[in-house]
Every structure is written in C-alpha cells, then in structure tokens.
Symmetry: C2
Subunit: 286 residues, 2 copies
C-alpha cells in the first residue's frame, strides 16, 4: 500500500506511514501562477492500493482532494481509500431552512466517486456517514486526547453541552476521573451563567473536551466562567481545531492553561495525533 | 426559467436575465466565520427550469458551484442548466507527464453530476467538452469582442501564435480588416524577436486577440515588440482575463493602449459581455 499525503495532512500522513510501515508516495505538488493546483505522482502505482490522506477543508483543499483522486485513479490504482481527517461542510448536514443546500451531502457525493472506502474522524453527527455512496466509517480521537490529558492530573472532564455528554464521559473513563457537562442558566433577562450541571470546579483541574473548536467564542466564555468559579487549571481539548477568525486571541484572553488539538487540522495546537486510531481501524478492516 | 447567478458571475447573470427576459432567483449567499460557503434559495423552484451561472475559478468558486447545484436539485428543479463562463482547470486537459491528474476531466465529471446541460465559452481546447458526462456545448466570444474593436479603427488583428490563427481570422473578418499571427524568431543564441509572420505593423492600429490572458508575460513582450516595430496603437482583447500575479503591471508597462476582456471573469477590464452569445445559444437550444 502507498500513502498519498495531501497538502492539508502532511503531519498525519507521516505519522500513518510510520505506524503502518507503508511508504509515502513520491509526489510533486504546486500551484500554477493562476493558483490552479498541480499534482504529479512520481512512482508507478498501477495495481496498487493507495491511501489518500487529505483534510477536506477549506475549499481549495476539497478541490485538491478531487484532483488527487483523479490522478490515483488515472494511474491505475487497484483500491482507493480516502482518509478525511476533518470533513469540511460536515456541519451543514440538513436543511435548517427551505432552499438551503445540504452541503455535507454534496461534498460526500463528490468525494465518493473515486473512492472505494472513506474513513473520517469524529464526525459532528454520525448520520453524515450515510451521505457517502461508498463504504464509510469513522473513528474516535477521544482515546488519543485522553492519553495526552492523563499526564495532566485532570480531576474533571466537562462536555461543552448536554449533547456532547457521551464524549466527555468516554474521555473521563479513559482518564479515570469524574465527568459532567456545562449548562447555561439565564439569571436575568440578558445574563447567562455557564456552569457544570452537577459538580463544583473550585480548586479542581478541569478539561473541556469537544469535537470541534471553530470561532472559540462559547469555549472562551466557558473558560472564563470556570476560572471565575475557582477552577485551578482549565485545559481545552478538541479533535478538530479550526481556530477561525479571532479564536486564538479569544482563547488566550480567556485564561486557558493549555489548548490541545489533534492533527486532523494542522496547527500549533496539534499535540495529539489521530494516526493510531486510524491505523487500528485500517488494520481491522484489512 | 430562473437564473441563479453565483458570486463569480454577478455581471453576466444580470446581463443574461435582461437579454432572456427571465428573472434572477432570489438567494442568500454568505461565508461562515470558518469560511465555509452558505447558500439559500429564497423562492420555490419545484418543477422549474434553472440556469446556474458561475465561473468555476478559482477553487472556492468550484465548491460554490457544486453546492449551488445540490441546492437547486434538492429544491426540485425540473431541468438544471449550468453556464460555466470560464471553466477553471481547462488547460490541464491531458497528461503532459505520467502520474499527472487530468484536472479538467476531474472537474467536468463532478460538475456534470447535477447538470442536465452545460454551456461554456471559448474553451482553450474543444476536446475538453467531451470530459463532461452531460450534453455540453461552447459558444464564441469573438463576435462580441469584434463588435467592440470595430469602433477602434483596427487595421490588423494579430493572433498570439500560429495555433490561434483561426480565432484571429474570425475576428478580422467581423471587423473587416487584415489578419496575421505572431511568430518568434531566434536571432542569436538567447534573443527572440516577436513579429507578425507576413505583415508590417508600422503606423498601424493593431489588436492582439487571444482566448486567455493569465500572467500576461508573453502578451507584454509582444506588445513591446509591436511598439518597437512602429505600431501606432496596440489593443489587446481576450475572452478570459485571469490577470494572475503581476499581469496588470506587466501589461501597463508594455505600452498597451487598451486592454479588453469579457465578463466570463469579472474585472475592471470586463468591457464586453458574453451574454448575447450565450442567450443566442440558449434560445437556439430551447
């Protein structure tokens, strides 16, 4: 098997190559002066299995993925597996209003065309896997995040809301600590207090575990509140760190002790790799 | 019929709506804070024919197109026609080397999925139309460019090279002037002289007519040479004005009298609309 690491998954493809003991495919990537993407596969892959690794976010990386799939198909690969560490547009997974696109479905449909299987990590909603017209599975980054958090003497894992409770409980169980979720209480017409549903954070080291950090606004407010309520340390761990807009500044100002993200989206916070969870799944599927 | 004008074809969709006397579809477009595209169609189009107009360049505009097609399909349109005023990646139309993607084919394949017909303007090579898996036609912007140039008392139309001769001849015939093409002659080991194959430009008003201006390098050199050879005025007219990188500066410094492009790619040089050629084709197909 060859691993074709796209430009949005360099770290992860290297990690996967090492873990699976499979070579990275030699490639040339460039952008033409008019900003169009160019790809050349530098080795013969006729009859070979190829694992394409590319985060489909933002838009130009989706186009790169479609072009990589074309090149691998054209070069005669036997089986094309696509790893979408982060699947862009996955939150536009239904029509919230009439006339909207179901963008997650649209992207899934196009990515499925030249893919024999797709594997993604922590989709925001499980049902988006059904949008793909090729066999699609997901794996969880929670064990990898929990592994990292274990070293931090976490007393309490907090899910950012009730809907994300299962995820928080899974992390807490792996770390060996308590878990709870954050709730918003309206204390007058305009003020909202964010606090753990059942437990007290005073003097505790807490970790908020979420699937995605986008603009970081709600997360920053939660951190401030927990600090205000006497939390000793506040860690924030997520699978997909988008850090859109002013997210970095907001989080920095909130008084967070450390931000941890995985390598599904590469950033200075990619301290945890999802390579091991992906490798386990690939080995189990083989 | 409704016309859905995308964000990369605002001018052209308005022109088409006026010429065809068909309404523009009411829509909301936005980008989320994480830069993902959002579209909502604000009117019912169930059972209606919809004409989507969107230049598929650069990458984010391709993704927008795929999402618009999904929304129109989801909303129950009867027939989906896609106008690609400029088709991005169309110059990557074959494998120049082993291992490359045929990107034009890849994009054509994806755009074809939710399209009952596709119409594009002046493709760089005609054979790219065969990459689409839905009926696809092209129309020529040369009559529209010639119409504009007629007012400029052009003595001579020049094609930028021998391969583009037909296009130059077509323009010259419509303008009612002579035509020739530019040739490069190597005068010593390194120096190349660019000059018209047969005719002299001294004291003449010339127009170089090309399908596409990308970085503008060759075009700028040609203009300088024609100036040097005594051309009175040099006009440059193209269908697709990409003006990538430093193209604007290079052309400005070359001594060009005027740059003319169409609205397939919107810029300050979009002085000619391809709406009339598209409208004629649509009426003839109806």
């Amino acid at each position: 098997m060859y691993i074709l690491g796209g430009t949005s998954a360099t770290l992860l493809s290297n990690n996967l190559s090492r873990l699976l003991n499979q070579p990275l495919l030699k490639t040339t990537f460039k952008r033409f002066p008019d900003d169009e993407f160019y790809l050349r596969i530098e080795e013969p892959i006729d009859g070979e299995d190829v694992l394409i690794v590319q985060t489909a976010y933002p838009d130009p990386k989706i186009v790169e993925l479609l072009i990589m799939q074309d090149a691998v198909c054209e070069a005669g690969a036997k089986k094309i597996s696509v790893i979408l560490p982060y699947f862009g547009y996955s939150r536009q997974d239904k029509k919230f209003e009439e006339g909207e696109a179901i963008s997650a479905r649209a992207m899934a449909e196009h990515i499925s065309i030249h893919a024999d299987e797709v594997i993604t990590v922590d989709p925001h909603k499980e049902h988006i896997l059904d949008f793909f017209t090729t066999p699609t599975r997901s794996c969880s980054a929670v064990p990898a995040l929990a592994d990292y958090l274990k070293k931090k003497n976490i007393d309490l894992v907090l899910a950012p809301d009730k809907g994300a409770r299962d995820r928080g409980e899974e992390a807490a169980k792996l770390i060996g600590c308590a878990s709870d979720y954050l709730e918003k209480t309206r204390i007058d017409g305009t003020t909202v207090k964010i606090h753990p549903k059942n437990l007290d954070v005073h003097g505790k080291t807490v970790a908020i575990v979420d699937d995605i950090i986008s603009t970081g606004g709600t997360m920053a407010n939660s951190i401030k509140e927990l600090r205000h309520q006497g939390a000793k340390k506040v860690y924030v761990a997520c699978t997909h760190g988008l850090f859109a807009g002013q997210a970095r500044e907001k989080l920095k100002e909130s008084g967070v002790d450390e931000i941890i993200a995985t390598d599904t989206i590469e950033s200075e916070f990619s301290k945890v790799s999802v390579a091991s969870c992906l490798a386990s799944m690939l080995v189990s599927l083989a």
